[in-house]
Amino acid sequence: MDNKALSLKAGSFLLLQLLSNLLLCRSVDSLPICPSGAVNCEVSLRDLFDRAVVLSHYIHNLSSEMFREFEQQYAQGKGFITRAINSCHTSSIPTPANKEQAQSIHHEALLSLVLGVLRSWNVPLYHLVTEVRGMQGSQGDILSKAVEIEERNKQLLEGMEKIVGEVFPGVKENEILSVWPGFPSPQAADEDSRLSAFYNLLHCLRRDSHKVDSYLKLLKCRIIYDNNC
């Protein structure tokens, strides 16, 4: 990839990250910021990683809150936890299950896995937003969080692709992706089933966002700070 194009992409990604940082109220201490409109902006890998971690942390935060609110509002005493042991659609992606496994896997592979997980969530998040909008008595909070998560996920995916391009230039784009089966159709399922499917999706979202967050933090410390965060 051309360096200039990469820098340009990195710059735009950095601007997006800056915006997200402002939203997150994080103090970006001394990270260099590309002036808006700059074409040849060199963004360091460190900055990219820092911002990616911030973004993934934010997404996990939002999904935790969203799950908690949904549980309080719709799933009280309904025993959804039983059915929530269903598999998430991303279970097919062989992500490391604990720290040793994560440490033993190579950066490249781990990054690819992260990208795969992020990519797999694009479609479900879109449908999640649509469904939440149409839900009866859905509060604005859940909807706004869903919308936010969908947007941030796209940003994170974009950022990760840039990082991958920078850390492992020349690597071919991997195609890790797991297809989401979709919600049960409104005609086929009753309200309970639909709510259960919802619950499951939010549970999976929380879990996967935590996964991605942990992997990225691990990678950041490993790559940038040399295991000394």
Binding site: T82, N86, A97, A102, D213, K217, C221
Partner: protein, 660 residues
């Protein structure tokens, strides 16, 4: 399966002789327990749907029923976890080793909706203490659902499902210490910096887990801890501690994004160095109060000195006098004399009248011309009386001490005043009845007309002049044609004049529309109907009192009147001068009048039509020099062709049609 269930008994360390007793006891327990629906078949049953799983909340640990319950499962560093349960309180009767914990974890391939998997037993009952099960790193899978259950002799006592990342509760931080940052200038307060280390088992360096910390502090003898906001770093400043107190500090940590804190660290005692024991004022307050108070006091004293001093100049500086308004116009003498009616009239007409005075200049020349003629005529007794009366009258009416107007000219207030006098005193023509005071203007009008007419009528030959004179005098003598009084007086109409009813129809106040050169005031017509038939209505004896035919709808000449008057006049006059004929009529020169003079010959006599209502106030369209006022016809039904037929005003257009 059954063997498996029984195998754990081999681990029990009870005395061999107790085996039978234990067996009996467990059987008894099993039999009496309520939590065993189909107890033998629970583990790993193929077909049965899993019993309803429920989360065991650590807080609800009341073991009322007496059986062991899962209290809490916890992972301190996201690498291992352990589960704890309570004993159940049945000590002595139940061996602690009887309770077992089984777990099952879902793998991607193994887990299905049905509980087909085998439950595995807890790998380590020891490491985490009594009544606990410890899962080391090899047994721990993050992001994987686990279910555990507590069994006793095969019977499930409790069950719980969770994921490891949800149960993270870090250990307390270690290595708390503090350093002094600074001491305040007063020596009362100090700031310190507290530092600590993250828990040793949390792998923060590799970034596997990210922690945040919460610090609490309090004075030694206090009971309430003060809490600070969570921080992500491992040191935090604490501000404003008093130097003479001792403090305690403690810190706890939690994984960022979760809400469960770990345990508190050990308490750190902070003993600040004692500085000088002298009590010191916290701040020095500037004595603002005293300063302001005494300052104001001094200022007040100085001000009073100035005020009460006799120094007028200084007093003027501080308290400048308020200018008093000065209003011209009304003679205060009137008030003193009690002539309120005059004052009223003055007030009523002053605004309208006053400006007229300032037109004196333009009128002067003209009037002088007229007056020159007039004076010759007015040597007559009647005229003289009129003039003198006018003078007085006008004075009474207006009482205007207006120095600007030429008092010597005959249309002065003096002259006008004389009119009133004439009217009031019923001088002049005796036929004039004593007019009522309020309607003086009407009377005046009539009277004047009568008076004015007299000379012209008497002096037939100089008819050309007289008409001009009379109008002038008329104008002079009628400074106020108020209201409906447009009763054009006629010498022979005095009787009518005297009719009180007529006077009753006159408005008290009427707007002065103009002042004729002769000095008389032209009033705007009031309500025509109110006027009824003006008493000073002109009689239609054309010859005798044509000049007095001032049909006044409020002092305007109807063309009928004008016609009559004009007819009386020598034709020569008519032909020669349109204007003088107007002057005859003297009151108001309307376009109509003009036209009537022009078209008189062809005009048929009309009864005092005056049927058309005339508005009270009409704006002047043109001031025909020198004696005509062209009024704007307002809402008047203009006759199609014969505008002359309407006693009213002629619009400019019509006038233009008529006049060249």
């Amino acid at each position: 399966m059954r063997t498996r269930a029984l195998n754990p008994e081999a681990r029990l360390e009870g005395p061999p002789g107790m085996g039978l007793w234990k067996l009996l006891l467990t059987l008894a327990v099993a039999g009496s327990s309520n939590a065993f629906p189909g107890s033998e078949a629970i583990p790993a049953l193929l077909d049965r749907a899993p019993p309803s799983l429920h989360r065991v909340h650590p807080g609800l640990g009341t073991n009322s029923s007496g059986k062991p319950q899962l209290t809490k499962c916890r992972s301190p560093e996201l690498e291992t976890f352990s589960c704890h349960w309570t004993d159940g309180g049945r000590r002595g009767f139940e061996s602690p080793g009887l309770t077992q914990l089984f777990y099952i974890r879902r793998n991607t391939q193994e887990w299905t909706q049905e509980w087909t998997q085998e439950w595995k037993e807890c790998p380590d009952y020891v490491t985490a203490g009594a009544n606990s099960c410890y899962f080391n790193a090899s047994y721990t899978s993050i992001w994987t659902p686990y279910c555990i259950k507590l069994t006793s002799l095969g019977g499930t006592l409790d069950q719980k499902c969770f994921s490891v990342e949800e149960i993270v509760q870090p250990d307390p931080p270690t290595g708390l210490n503090w350093t002094l940052l600074n001491i305040s200038l007063t020596g009362i307060h100090a700031d310190i910096q507290v530092r600590w280390e993250p828990p040793s088992n949390a792998d923060v360096q590799k970034g596997w887990i990210v922690l945040e910390y919460e610090l609490q502090y309090k004075e030694i003898n206090e009971t309430q801890w003060k809490t600070m906001d969570p921080v992500a770093s491992t040191s935090v400043p604490v501000y404003s501690l008093r130097l003479d107190k001792e403090y305690e500090v403690r810190v706890r940590s939690r994984q960022r994004n979760s809400d469960k804190y770990g345990e508190f660290s050990e308490v750190l005692c902070v003993t600040l160095p004692q500085t000088s024991p002298l009590p010191c004022e916290e701040d020095f307050q500037f004595p603002w109060f005293f300063l302001i108070f005494f300052g104001l006091f001094g200022l007040a004293v100085i001000l009073l000195l100035f005020l009460f001093s006799k120094q007028q100049r200084i007093k003027m500086l501080i308290l400048p006098p308020v200018p008093v308004p000065k209003i011209k116009g009304i003679d205060p003498g009137l008030f003193k004399d009690g002539k309120l009616e005059e004052v009223n009239t003055i007030l009523a007409i002053h605004d309208n009248y006053k400006p007229e005075f300032y037109n004196d200049d333009s009128w002067v020349e003209f009037i002088e011309l007229d007056i020159d003629d007039l004076d010759e005529k007015t040597e007559g007794s009647d005229t003289d009386r009129l003039l003198s009366d006018d003078r007085r009258k006008s004075l009474h009416i207006l009482g205007a001490k207006d120095d600007d107007s030429g008092r010597t000219s005959c249309y002065d207030p003096d002259i006008l005043e004389a009119d009133f006098d004439a009217g009031d005193m019923a001088d002049g023509p005796s036929e004039v009845a004593k007019p009522q005071r309020l309607k003086g203007e009407a009377d005046l009008l009539c009277l004047d007309l009568k008076n004015q007419n007299n000379p012209p009528s008497s002096d037939a030959p100089p008819a050309t002049q007289e008409p001009s004179v009379t109008p002038a005098e008329e104008n002079k003598s009628r400074p106020l044609l108020l209201g409906d009084n447009a009763q054009s007086t006629h010498p022979t109409a005095h009787a009518q004049l005297s009719n009180p009813s007529s006077l009753a129809n006159i408005d008290f106040y009427a707007q002065v529309s103009d002042v004729t050169p002769a000095g008389s005031v032209v009033l705007s017509p009031g309500q025509k109907n109110k006027a009824g038939i003006p008493q000073c209505d002109m009689q239609l004896e054309a010859a005798s009192f044509c000049q007095a035919n001032f049909i006044t709808d409020n002092a305007y000449f109807c063309e009928a009147d004008a016609k009559k008057c004009v007819a009386a006049a020598p034709p020569a006059e008519v032909g020669a001068r349109a204007e003088p004929s107007f002057n005859q009529e003297d009151i108001y020169i309307t376009t109509e009048s003009l036209t009537t003079t022009a078209g008189r010959s062809g005009a048929s006599e009309r009864a005092p039509s005056s049927e058309t209502p005339v508005p009270d106030y009409t704006s002047i369209h043109i001031v025909q020099s020198p004696r005509g006022l062209l009024l704007n016809a307002m809402a008047l039904p203009l006759p199609d062709k014969e505008f002359l037929s309407s006693c009213g005003y002629v619009s400019t257009d019509q006038l233009n049609k008529i006049m060249p």
